[in-house]
Structure formats: C-alpha cells, structure tokens
Symmetry: C2
C-alpha cells in the first residue's frame, strides 16, 4: 500500500510538473513578443498589489515563521524568512526598479551587410523558460519572477518549503499584476508543493521546457543543482575571493580595501577569503594589515611569516587556501610578487572575484589580464561584486561559468540572441 501510494504521488508530481513545463513554454511564446509597456505595466501593478496585500503577506509569513520556529530553524534562516513592513515595501520597490530598467529584448547587438546584399542582424531575444530553485527567502519570489518577466521569459519558481505560505501570498500579488496587464497567468508559476520530487523534475528540464536553472542558496543547494541538472545552470558554487597587496602599493589604501573586502559583510559571495601579500613588502605591509584585521575582530590563519607577526595568528593548513569561510576569518600568505599571486589564485581560486592593490600600472595590467575570474579589480574592494554595484539594476545571482552569463546575472544575461537575415531573393551559389 505504502509503495503504491508513493508511486501514485510521484506520478502525480511528475504529471503536475510536465504540465507546468508545457504551460510555461506557451507563456514564454506570448512573453517573447510582449511589448515593453505591457511587461512594465504588469510589474508596476504587481508592486501596487504587494502593497495592497501587505496584511495577507505578513499573516502568511507569520504562519510560516511559527512552523519554522517549531522545526528549530537557525536564527540566520529565520531572519531570511522574516518579513515586516519595511521588507514588504522593499519588495514592492524592487519590482518598480526592475520595471524602470531598459528592456533588453529586441536590442540590435550587431549588424552588417554581406557582399551579396544580405543584411544580417544579431538581435537579443528572451531565453525562454527559467527555473529558479531557492531557499526560504520570500523576496526571491518577487525579484526572480520580475527579472525573468522583464527579459521576456516565463519563470518556474520553487522556493524553500518553510516559506511556502509567504511565497504564495507574494505570488498572488504578482499574478494580479500580470493578469491586469493582460499577460498569461502562467508567466510566473510557483510550484504548489513542497515535495522534493518536484526539484528533481525541474533539474531534468521538464521535457525540454526549462532552458536554464538558477539556484539561489547555500553551497549544498548549488552543488546539488550543478551535479544533477541536465540543463544549463547559472551559478557560482563558492566565492573564494582574493586580495593581493603588491609591494608598490599605498598602505592606507590597501588596509581600507582589505578591511572592506573582508569585513563589510562576511556572508556575501564577494567577501575576501584570502589575503596575498607581496614578499617584497613583508616587513611593514604584512604586520600592518594583519594587525588591522585582528584588531577589527577577524581571525587570521597564516603561513609561517604571518604567524610570526602576531601571537593571535593561527597557522593555516592547506585546507584554508581552499575555504570560503563566509565569516570573520581570513587566510593570509606571502607570495612572490604578482606572478606568485596569479599562480596562487589559479590553483586555489573559484574564478569569482579578485582584487589587486598596487600603484604600478604594469603590474595591475598583468594581474587584470592573467587572473581568470569573472571579475578582476584594481584598487577596489571585492565587495563590489554585485549587479547593483555594476549598475545593472538588479541581479538574480553571480555566475562563475564561462558561458553566456559570467559575473552578475541581470536582466541582460537572462536573454539569448538570434540572427535575423534580410534578403531580396539571394540563393547560395
């Protein structure tokens, strides 16, 4: 009996998900040709509905929170799940911000003429259907759905089970906006079940009806998605970001950038995890930087030279160079100039974001050219690794892939392109 039940349940999930995929593809065809005004009207109406529905949203969230506390969720997770007046207002404002972004769809990326008279254009088009798998952060429901819509894509959202009621309330508001603008109800679909089999179905791509998966959450979620997905994934597994301080650097600037890169927020993917110091400036720079970190409350794990600087420094192990702490901990080592830094990053980095602090232009260029990361910075904090800080308006995440979307994934990165060729009867000889 139990076995039979399970089979039936998972068959039902499978059927439900296939249907969601078919509906999403149909919606995507409508969204692909929807005018900018119509998409923006949907987003603005959704923002208004979020504000109008604030009581419903907060009471749904309250119910989620009660269950989550019973389950014993950690304070950090509870905080991410929690909504209040300000956070709901921020959700509504984010929708308006996304509406205000330029519409990438239809943009001509290039155009040229061929000797035979053919005129070729490369034109931005939506990607199609985007699946978003995220942990229990209700704001992602609105952000992700809206970014997908702005770029003319249908979205299939699968949020963390602890936030299902909150997500539903927010999704209801989105749907009011979408439908008031005359767009399909299935433009943004929220998976109505917390059954984990639904995630498996999404990772298999719903019969070709999902074009890309974006996981938003911790490393274990991203790792599962990257391992199991049979469709492309926009994600970064981890951000082991480096700051390299060159001998020819301004020490005050180096300290400011380092402290900001490590400690402004330690839990974000662009926070620095390793400090590399040019051995040519071991005497003054290393102790100054290490003491500044320690005095700011940061744990320092260092190589031999770093341990010699201060008794509070703990010895680093090989593992430390590979670790994304996401905490007030940093690994520190001396390297042989910029080449040593480049080699260390090539070996231990995660191709996310790295910064060099130097006053030497040639050294900076070498670092910027040779470090193979999505974002490389000169004399600036790694914490600028963010779509908003890049001026992209909003991002759905940061990708360390080398394909298509690299770095912040904003509206533009949620598009593809096609070649439009115009002729007057050309045939190929």
């Amino acid at each position: 009996m139990t076995v039979l039940d399970v089979t039936t349940a998972s068959d039902n999930i499978s059927m439900l998900m296939q249907e969601i995929g078919v509906e999403a593809r149909a919606a995507a065809r409508v969204l692909a040709k929807a005018p900018t005004k119509q998409k923006d009207a949907a987003l603005l109406a959704a923002a208004a509905a979020i504000r109008a529905d604030i009581d419903d949203i907060l009471s749904a969230n309250e119910a989620d929170l009660i269950d989550a506390k019973h389950k014993g969720l950690s304070p950090a997770l509870l905080d991410r799940l929690t909504l209040n007046d300000q956070r709901v207002e921020a959700i509504a404002r984010a929708l308006e911000d996304i509406a205000a972004l330029p519409d990438p769809v239809g943009t001509r990326l290039a155009e040229w003429d061929r000797p035979n008279g053919l005129h070729i254009e490369r034109v931005r088009v939506p990607l199609g259907v985007i699946g978003i798998i995220y942990e229990s952060r209700p704001n992602v429901t609105a952000d992700a759905g809206a970014l997908c819509m702005k770029a003319g894509n249908a979205a299939i959202l699968r949020g963390g089970s602890e936030s299902l009621r909150s997500n539903r309330a927010i999704h209801d508001a989105l749907m009011q906006g979408v439908m008031s603008a005359g767009l399909p109800e299935t433009s943004i679909q929220l998976i109505p079940t917390t059954d984990r089999a639904a995630v498996g179905e999404m990772l298999r791509g719903l019969d070709g009806n999902i074009d890309v998966i974006v996981p938003r959450g911790g490393k274990s979620l991203v790792a599962r998605v990257q391992d199991e997905a049979r469709v492309p994934v926009f994600a970064h597994l981890e951000g082991i970001c480096h700051v390299y301080v060159d001998a020819k650097s301004n020490l005050d600037m180096a300290r400011e950038i380092l402290l900001n890169a490590k400690l402004r927020r330690t839990g974000v993917c662009g926070s620095a995890e390793t400090l590399l110091v040019d051995q040519a400036c071991a005497k003054e720079t290393l102790p100054t930087l290490v003491k500044a970190l320690l005095d700011a409350g940061c744990e320092v794990r260092g190589d031999e030279a770093t341990c010699a600087v201060d008794t509070r420094v703990k010895p680093a192990s090989e593992d430390d160079w590979h670790t994304e702490y996401l905490d007030a901990i940093i690994a520190v080592r001396l390297v042989k100039g910029v080449e040593g830094a480049i080699n260390h990053i090539a070996r231990y980095g995660s191709n996310h974001t790295e910064s060099i602090v130097t006053d030497d232009a040639a050294t900076a260029e070498r670092f910027l050219n040779e470090v193979d990361s999505a974002i490389v910075l000169h004399n600036a904090s790694t914490q600028f690794a963010d779509g908003g800080e890049f001026g992209m308006g909003a991002e759905i995440g940061i990708s360390t892939g080398k394909f298509h979307a690299r770095g912040p994934v904003g509206v533009e990165q949620l598009t593809s392109f096609k070649y439009v060729v115009r002729g007057n009867g050309q045939i190929r000889p």
Copy 2:
C-alpha cells in the same frame, strides 16, 4: 587475466587523459596571454609545414584509406576521409584565412563609469580548453585546432579512428608551426589512441580541464556527446529547416529560393527539409513549387492538398514533419498563413534555420520575431546558414543552444569575457 588487462588499459587511458587535461590547462594559460602576432605566426608556419609535408600527409592518408576500405566504409565516409593535392592545399589555405581573421581576445565589449568613480570594462578572454570530437575528416584536425588557437584556447582533438594516421601527419605539421612561434607544444593535442574510453574521459571533462566540447559529425555522435557530456557542448543535433512561402510572395523568387534551400547540397545542416505553403495561395503557388521540386529530382511527401497536385507526390506521415532527410526528399504542407507557419515550426522545428518568402514587410517581421531559431531569414535561402557566408571567416560548427554560442560558431564564439574594474581605493559603503 583479460579482466585485469582491461582494467590496466583503462586505468592507463584515464591517466593519459588526465595528463592531457593538465597539460592543456597549462598551455591555455600561456595562450591566453599570447600576442596576436605570435598566434598568427604559428598558424602561418603551420600552413607552410602542411605544404612542405604534403608527401607525408598523403601517404599517411593512403594507409588510412586502405584500412578503411578493408573495413568496408561507405563511399560517403571514404570520400570525407580522402585527401589529395587540392584538399591539402585547401587545408593550408584555411590556416592562412584563420590567421587573417581579427583576434577577438582583449576586445572591449562594453565599458562604463559608476558614480563612485569605478571604471568597468567587459573584455573578451579565451574560453580556456576546448575538446573537439569528430568523425574521420582529417581537415577538421587543422581547422579546429587553428580556430581554437586564434581565440587563445588550447585544443584537445579526438578524431575518428579511421583517420588516425592522417590526423597525426597533419598534427605534426601544426606542431612545427606552433613550436616555431614559441608556443607550447601542448597548445593543440591530438589524442594518440583510438580507444573509445578516451572519449568518455573527455565527456567527463578531465577534472575540470575541458571547458567546452564541440562534436563534429553525424546525429549519433552529437546525440552521444549531448547525452553524456558533463561539460557544456556547442552543437546542433539536427537541422530541420523550413521554408515558408506566403501568399503575398513573388512566385519566381519563391521557387529559386526553395530549390536552392533544398537541393544545392542536401547533406548540409542548413538544407530545407519542410516546405510550408500559405493556404491562401494553394491554387497556383503550391502546384508550381511542387512540380519544380519533382522535376528537379526531389521526392515530395505531402499533406492531402499536396498529394492532389501531382501523382508523383507520396503521402506524408506525422514522422515526416520531424525528419531531417539530408537527402533529396522534402515534406510539404499547407498552413494557415504566417501564424500557421510559426506554429508548425514551434512544434516540429529544431531551432536551427528557417526562411520566409514574402513581399509583405509586416508578415516578414512577424515571422522573424516569433520564430525561435538561431537563424531566421527573409527572402533568402536557408543554405546561407554558415559561418563563412555570415562573414565570420570560418566556423567550427553551428549551435542551436540558446547559450553563449548560437548559430555559426566562429572564432568570436570560442571566447568568453570578464569584467575588469579599475578604481582608486573605492570601498563599498
């Protein structure tokens, strides 16, 4: 004993392949910073070496051909394997053509300033290491290796087993060019074994040391690669290309384009496989086009209306709309205007290349906008689906993916990009 032998052999293959991956990654780091002149010098010297080594290349090819005939390879495959004076000269010239292309690496794709003074650039960088898995066409050894090198990538080549001697002789010439220019010997590696386990290792990505796989060959090769690869793949499984002839079209132009699209070469991915005719012009246009196809020696499989045109027409089955014939066969049906054509293509197409013939600009725009294919054409033959015809100089294939490389995959598509951010001490508030 046998089991032990097999284990040992496959362990050896695995070790060999891992080593090839590590070497390729190291070469990629050198190639990424190699100046354009150095890469071009390597390609020009390789072209000279191909010409100088023509006797070695032809005798290696002769030996391959003898074995292949013993194995009973089909005439088409034997033809693809065969080299002669002209074909070797074409290989050398292709290398020179690739050297003459602009170098995409380092190109600034975009740049902008942020209010805080950060200057952000989006700069083209090589992809890294590209694996090419191809059937027994020796020219691919040179073409693919050269395209990868031009874009600053290391290449790992796995050619069909029947062409191993020819590939080796061509690869030797490439290596002379590469080494004379002072680039790493491992810039272009040819897998020295015909063991199929090597392909499996490549598809698993050699421990992260392959960034993309490009399969070049028939549908079964591409299907295997797409199914098994754990790294991104640039490919198209099939090209079920459509020509739609609208009621408001010039019948002479429609006939010329159709005959060219179907019959210029029937074995290429851009050849038309299905003709869709607007039902509003069923009376004159349909019979004219169908008879033109039949008279040109093309088999026609049609819907009811098409069968009624001529006794030589065979009835089409549901399968025919899904079929890439790669032969002088075409499926023909009436559709309800451009909308019917768009819907048919959405259902049966392979997102490769489709053409509309019409004199009505609004109808053309609708088709170009709403058909979701890598290439959409107005009043031109589908056989223009080719990197050379697009002016890209050379292509490694055509991709129907929506990511990164869509349409012809030329030198530019073999690159990625990174963000280079220049500051003067900016930290994030």
